[in-house]
Symmetry: C2
Subunit: 519 residues, 2 copies
Amino acid sequence: MSFEFKSTSFIGNSRGSETGKTFTAFSPETGEAVGPEFHSATIVEMNRAANLAENAFGELSRKSGKEKAEFLRRIAEKLEEKKADIVERASLETGLPKARFEGETGRTCGQLRMFADLAQEGSWVDARIDTAETERAPLPKPDVRSMKRALGPVAVFCASNFPIAFSVAGGDTASAFAAGSPVIVNAHNAHPGTSEIAASAISEAVNECGFPEGTFSLLFSADYEIGSALVAHPSIKAVGFTGSRAGGRALMDIAAKRDEPIPVYAEMSSVNPVFVLPRAAEEKADSIAEGLFSSFTLGYGQFCTKPGLAFLPGNGGYGAIVSRLNQLSRESSGKPLLTSGIRNSFIEKISERGAAQAAAKGYAVESVVFETSVGEFRSTPELHEEVFGPSTLAISFGEVAELVDIAEDLEGQLTATIHGTDEDIAEAEELIAVLEKKVGRIVFNGFPTGVEVCHSMVHGGPYPATSFSGTTSVGTRAIERFTKLVCFQDAPDSVLPDELKDGNPLGIVRMKDGVIGRT
Amino acid sequence: MSFEFKSTSFIGNSRGSETGKTFTAFSPETGEAVGPEFHSATIVEMNRAANLAENAFGELSRKSGKEKAEFLRRIAEKLEEKKADIVERASLETGLPKARFEGETGRTCGQLRMFADLAQEGSWVDARIDTAETERAPLPKPDVRSMKRALGPVAVFCASNFPIAFSVAGGDTASAFAAGSPVIVNAHNAHPGTSEIAASAISEAVNECGFPEGTFSLLFSADYEIGSALVAHPSIKAVGFTGSRAGGRALMDIAAKRDEPIPVYAEMSSVNPVFVLPRAAEEKADSIAEGLFSSFTLGYGQFCTKPGLAFLPGNGGYGAIVSRLNQLSRESSGKPLLTSGIRNSFIEKISERGAAQAAAKGYAVESVVFETSVGEFRSTPELHEEVFGPSTLAISFGEVAELVDIAEDLEGQLTATIHGTDEDIAEAEELIAVLEKKVGRIVFNGFPTGVEVCHSMVHGGPYPATSFSGTTSVGTRAIERFTKLVCFQDAPDSVLPDELKDGNPLGIVRMKDGVIGRT
């Protein structure tokens, strides 16, 4: 590894002190601490980062789409330069294989370039123009023009389970930068080394592109103190978070109690039900079982979209699918979870469900398949809870009609999945209608893990899957979270942003007098 | 008046009981109670309304744009049929002239028809399609499609100051219906009669259009009990509110503490600063003073967008403008405010600023102009507060550069207004940049009252002007508040909403593989 850790926070263009609380990463493979020792930011440093972000905001929010695109592409290039170090360190800090981080780095760079293209193309601002009618009676109609603008400094909390794609240079950061908002990242203390490398990539890009100091800061934090204070800081105008339900809700509560409440875009917990309909279960029991097994053990079961519930027809398919799942589970070897906390929680939750696991090296656990019936599931609230790690719950049902009531009872979810033949799906109209209310994304004859990064993706869903079901943290719509609307009435063309000027100098898609086009 | 009041709540298709607390409207002209006596909804009735709304939601959310458009237009027709009664009763309950309500009813019907057109045209759903690439390596790309869908039952709180346009059948209700969300209105107890007439219009439209029971309910309420319980009800998924800062924040706090927190779209308080730049002040002192006087006394100073602060150049223009404002104020006669509470608050706030008014008939007050300097303004937080009623504060400044710091100090506002010649405006670039962060709408050489209802309007702004600066309560973007995203992955065309089907059967504007068009 060529990267030399300084192990201190990034406070604008400077590095933090070594006076804060210290902590280290741990190797999930061995359970042992790995160096170096990292230094938490102090409250003074957090305040300085927030002030720098506020000062940077004016200049940053008025950068052109082209300038923001160059900056985002530069970050991607810097990450690629550091890819070998990122992959090595991320694997060390997470216990996940290096190949995974080859992919995750690629995905992250792709995401940065997607937002670069979005910023450069420019139509995302939803520019609207209603032209004046000075002769209108009884009152003349003014010229009114509006668009989305950057909201202000954003606090981003990193996920434990995606140390690159949902962390320092991940989707929240990329979408906030694309909007023109400064970002202060609260690093996850399970992967501080990976965070420092990614932060150095962003920091170099800030300097090379001549972006203002305060565009980016990164705060290390041994515990919750710094992050909580950051969300309460008056300069912060929105929060992006990926993590647990308890963590997300704690930040939502802090944000709601501020003198000026701010939105927290939290992506939290989801059990991602899979509904296997009768004909599909008969026809494809093996391939469904294999796909389901791959999906719920991907990333060792630590994906937000892990299918934690599988509804299988008791009169056909259930036995074959569960038997195959158990076989695959027996054949697989134990693998380490991300942190001791995640391992302890997994062991506790599976023991509540009657499963035990032998002590293992590091944070290793084995995958486990639970079984229940629709009746027991409905009467046991604990079975609705997310179990983070490689387990799923097979639930045998009788009639497809039962699934409608089951779906109505579910909490909000990121995803639901339906396996069915065309005939099955035609009979599931009511189920689909209910799922549209309950989830962000409905997957047909596939599996929910693997979230495509594209314009139409929705990685969101009703609470407690996320805090706002009208938004997404993956895909180009993610940029909308970090914006405010601004409107100009009878403004001279000279003071208008280019997006709203007469003649459409940027050539973006706009709505003009209700008509959408490039005029 | 031909309308016969039943004076009870609308609980779906039935009327509420007469067992709840009673209250009456008051005539602001006389200060005396006017009949009939209205009956608050009970908690049982509120629960019933919420359950009916939840039950109606599935069917309502899947109504076509054409069906929703017919429903919205039917409401407008019904309001027009009842216009004479609405105008008479609204004038009685508010002390505002009948002509005002001729206009406000027209505006409200226009708004309903605007949302009808929006729903029928259909492109508002932001449909996006990314087509599959089955040959992509290492993983095939799925077919992903997404759009906005109705969120669920919405609670709407009526404004005291716009008993038609921001009340029962106002913008919040119209935009929620256009999205496909049921609405439960909490009537304002200052204008229950106007509310009942408008509610009967909506109720008739629900029945005539065959919309499901629970599409609409209206709850009368003598105090805050019913409204608070409504916001806490698990079936409610969002809140629209127009009113005071204290009232909006109270609802935000209730919503944030729910097991499932929900968004409250509250439009609250704003002092709407006007900045008169030196050359404009010299050239147009009289017309600026006259426009400002009309604007701050419109609706007797009880508009959300009332200009409550006027920054005037001390070295030129200030004297002439203030002298003309005072002259206009002396020449005008006292007029009644909407409620005794608003009158008492106005008298209290102006007496804090050293003004007194003689006792008058009913809730009448006289307009008043206060004066201060930039220095005193900056050091006196009370001067930044909204005074609801016909008063404004003239503030003399020295250099235009001072205004930048003033603007930085301001709380979030609905609007800011700049009066300036082209030369003035060219010199105010920095001021405009700050105002873009602080306000929803910047008006040039006009006045902030009179909010045009159109696609590009932004009637929003940073807290405490509203609760979310990314949204608006006026204009077609208002529909977005009451939606969630839903995404379909590899769905058969048969189960997709028409908006996402191959071949674009509705002919709406969509984004397909990143390209915006009608394909």
